[in-house]
Amino acid sequence: MIETETLKVGKPLISADAISKTYDKGQVKVPVLRGAGLSAQRGEFISVIGQSGSGKSTLLHVMGLLDSPDAGEVFLDGNRIDNLAPAARDQLRNHVFGFIFQFYHLLPELSLLENVMAPLMIRHSLLGFWKNRREIREAALQITEEVGLSHRLRHRPSELSGGEMQRGAIARALVARPEILLADEPTGNLDAETGAGIMELLQRLNRDQKLTIIMVTHDESIAAQAHRTVRLKEGRIQGVAWEDAA
């Protein structure tokens, strides 16, 4: 159900305008996004739905600065961020955005705890990490507890179940307290029950911590659990649909 309070009028936290992106597959150019746009207010939970190949993941990647658009702009808090230097993009990705993917991509050589601490390890230099190691560890322990994985801290990803790994990925994405969580098919690889658990976690985080979530999915029922759904078809936004009683 949608709560109208989340629809704040005013400046969006993040907005992507008229994003176009074409992939070069050898001889053929595949236009994935054709002037798609999306904006989210702080604390919104938005789902982007479309079929595979509709470019929804690409839109997510562009917004999270994992990819650059051929045309269009991305704004964060009114500031343009898609044309920044690589170092600045890396910083933003580390501080502002959190990513989770359909395949959980935990680093196999690290334990769960180390995986969760990874963004902070990246953020700090060796010396900085050493100085702040207690706080960093604390933050990791806390977020791990929030996702319910405190009992699996020392395990390697190979020893975790699918649901646990996705929770771990969520913990990793959130340990650095990002403002925006970008989720690419977070339940795509999970069974219905585990998937429901993940969705429940996401909703709780969104509700309790006002975490802005933009989630991509191809599943209608999953998409419906967000505040609003944006439909992407052949690279274009179909229209904003609100769930309402009618």
Binding site: G64, L66, L92, F99, F101, L110, A118, M121, I122
Partner: protein, 578 residues
Amino acid sequence: MYKLLLCIRYLKTRYIALACIVSVMLGVATMIVVNSVMAGFSTEMRDRLHNFLSDIVIESRGTEGIPNADVQMDRVREAAGEYIAAMTPTIEIPGMMTFTDPWSGETFTQPVQIQGIDPAGKASVGPLHDYLDSFNPVIEDGKTVREPLRNPGDSVGWELTSAGMEHRRRNQERRRMYLREIQSLGDSLLPGRKPSGSASDSPDFDTQPAPQQPGSAVAPQEAAPSDAPAAVPDAAAPEFDSLLTQPPEQSPEPSSEPSPEPSGEVNDMPGDSTGGNVFLADQQPQDSIREEPLETRVYIGEGLVSFQVRDEETGRTRKVMMVQPGDDVIFSTVTAKRPPEVTKFQATVVDSFRSGMGEYDGSIVLMNLESLQKNRGMHRNNAITSIHIKLHDYANAPQVLKALEQAFEPGMVSIRTWEEKQGLLLSAVEVETAILNVLLFMIIAVAGFGILAIFYMIVVEKTRDIGILKSLGASSSGVMSIFLSYGLGLGFVGSSAGVVLGLLFVRYINEIEDVLSWITGRKVFDEKIYYFFEIPTSVNPWMVFWVAAGATGIAVLASILPARRAARLHPVRALRFE
């Protein structure tokens, strides 16, 4: 921090990287072992060459030598005295040595380099004590088989040891007994002859082949060691033990039956005072055997008069000396006349020496300088052919060379350092070492390509992880440095292991050689072929360092390409990588 953590984890978990480590390790170990062994050989060889040659050698142009050794040495002292630690005059001349092998009874002649020396002087410019057999114990298989015959603290001279005198006496006894048999046989065969009980008869051998007076006839004759001077009109007439001037001696084969047949070839030298009698045998070295050692004394190089005998039961090889201290040998060489004339003379062997250099031990005899001078007719003007000089500090050699060149008339002498004299041999070793190093470094380069290949595969394998890292905000350079430090870590581990392995190998190289010889059934390092009994090694710490650093460097270099690939991966494509 993530870079360090990941690098360490990759090192620990990737066993394929062990292959890289092993290849680096082997390359490093090989280089260390080979360099150490070559350096060991080179150092040993240099030492042995150097010891035998002394720092600087002044040599006369011709074999006539330069006159007035004292004056020449004064000149040297004046020119460069403050650099000079010791100096000794020598005569160096090629010649032939004739000796008899008691085992087979054969007489051999070999070419030799005769070096006339003053033992005290020679000992001051080089380690003469260490070379001479009588001053050193005989050690077989690590056990002392015979103690030194002389006190190592004594100065070196030309006296026979008591063992030598004993040997000489025994030879003479045998000779006398043999003679008596011959005499009695001869008397019984030819009753008409007057009984030749005394050995002092001057033999007339035109008609009688059989009873040939042995050279021991000479023994009671002479009171004084020096023989009747020959009627050689030269001012520089050879004296001493000269066989040209002695009464004709005939020599039966020492161990053959006293058969009446004439032996051997004819000695038909033009100046031979034996008159070319067809029944005369070759002169045998021990013909003039007498109680007293002859005036001319020599130290003989071991290699000249020894051979190896393999004991079938124990498998050990023993060295057998054909000539012992106390034996006599004959030398043929040329006098200092212009042009030279042949001269022959006998000498008593006083000692044998081993310098460790096969070349020297197999060709050099050291003779007392005064006798050589007399035998070559160089004694009237005290001529010598070379001066050996030892410096306080070899680094001063260039200055000394220059000073000496000015002290002598140009063209009269050649003045060289020992390195210049042996330049060919030394530079050959250097060139070999350089080439070997290049080749061996190729091994490490090959290891580097292995690292390149394996790392590339690892990066490919890690593509998605790299995508994740980038999505978390890791920079491209950060990702690159993960793999660069991975290469550094691998190189370091491999090099360290290689250093340890290499040094262990060097330390136990002789034991390893024993095992290899046992396995293959042949002696891998045969001291008969090489100059040394143990494989000489010399580890240079800088060499070890540079080899390890070079190998690590190659490992890092090899990881650059894969690391760059990792850095350049596009995050999205990386994430989607199957």
